[in-house]
Amino acid sequence: MSANPQTLFVQHFWKDSNRTLDYYLKEMNGYEAARKVLGSMAPDQVVEEVKKANIRGRGGAGFPMGMKWSFIPKNSEKPKYLVCNADESEPGTCKDRQIIRYTPHLLIEGLLIGSFAIGCKHAYVYIRGEYVREAQLLEEAIEEARAKGYLGKDIFGSGFDLEITVHRGAGAYICGEETGLLNSLEGKRGEPRVKPPFPAVSGAFSCPTAVNNVESIANVPHIIRLGGEVFAKLGRIDKSGGTRLISLSGHVNRPGVYEVAAGSMTLRQIIDDLGGGVWKGKKLKAVIPGGSSSPVLTADEIDAVYDVEPLMKIGTMMGSAAIMVIDEDTDLVKLLLRITKFYAHESCGQCTPCREGCHWMESLLHKVIHGEAKPADIDLLVDVAGNIGGKTLCALGDAAAMPVQSFVKKFRSEFDAYVKGQSRHA
């Protein structure tokens, strides 16, 4: 794969024995980056290195990670927390799971370096409740690291202490939203908070907190090992350093988690070269490029470079880098109903536009599919979506609105066919 000469993760995936500390020490220079940081760097230098790396958050929003860390106040008298978001719940996404299964020590070492950088003595990993086995594997890896003195008191004789606690969620998409996650960590319903204050000021247990995605944190040892500038140059595009783990699913011949240098491939290349093209020799109809909330693309729109800014330019988003491929025989109206039903189910219910609007959109789509809708109902559907997006405390409202708006805009004829009783899927 000439377009993809350098990877940081996938060469260690898919083999159970690679998750051991032994493998990590021998094959991946394990804990050497942390040793260097704790032994010879100041916290500010670490943050600077991460800034130089140009790494965007891998959870979905794509916020520059170094900047997020720099928001943590240095002179706070309160404890500070680093919280790793392992809730991985945007439909289509399953990359963090592989990091935890096959390279858990990258995550632990990243937490160690990150905690040192922001001054945290107790880091939490909030992992989705369904990842029961992954939580166990991570606990085992934490125990391995503790037994060697990489966690606990006076790590590497530096005087720096760190504990890591794995905290399991219990089945709620909204806990992937960082303030919903923090409420859930504190033993509350996972309802997002009003911002400001942002977590950097008042996060977990009302203390300054940085919340970062698993893949983001697992990249930190790479950044220290390679140096921020080299890491940044792995990306082939401005303002996006490193590599990206992509979850490729749906109607492709070879679904899987792939790694590409940021901005090095177009969506078409990813689907054809990595995914082996659309399955069963069928034609492509649509692509959901960044998790189910990202606006859908038609088969003609996939020559865009797959990264944050090029996708933004064509009106969609990279999100959590979860690509779902949809073939020509798929009923997009039914698929949109499935997506909308998900967001209606997962709406936490705090904000009226989201709580009411999502169910309204779901019931309008039901009407369409059951041949009970009038042409004006399609416009009403788009109107309701427009009254949710941007009008809620958190991004779930937008996440529910964007698929509806984009599916109707780009595939209006499929909706109209249902209304006229002419859908080939009815």
């Binding site: 439909p91 409740g129 606690t165 504190e186 319903r189 996972g190 499935r338 997962e346």
Partner: protein
Amino acid sequence: MKERLLSEKFYEAMRQKEPRYPDRKALILPSLHQAQAEFGWLPKEILAEIAEYIGVHEAQIREVASFYTMYNLKPVGKMHLKLCTNVACCLRGANELMEFAEKKLGVKCGETTPDGAFTLSEEECLGACTTAPVMMANDDYIENLDINSMNDFIEKVKHER
């Protein structure tokens, strides 16, 4: 003092977790998980005992437990099959699998077989989309499912009983 329903193992597991949080209320989710692992579901009396252990009102425990789909507030079968029907799974045939499972088990989605052996549920995205369709069988993921492997799995569980 009322008789305790939760085991010493529960209290020991919780005692180990206590120092890991600056606020006892953070023990609510871990204690619900631990209790459900013991009982299979969370009857009212258990929620009350957890409330007493943490030191909050029972209503607060119910408020939290009812927010999260993984906490069973009603009994479930010995084998709880949770089939994902979200986008990636649905594109790879999850709806047909659900129909098959319903027929095979003789229950509708959301129901438990009369002998209490199986509960069949629909699940939102399980985060294993590249190996879709996927289901959870109690705590384990079963990936790359098709009708044959679903059939074999159900038969295997039936014979193990």
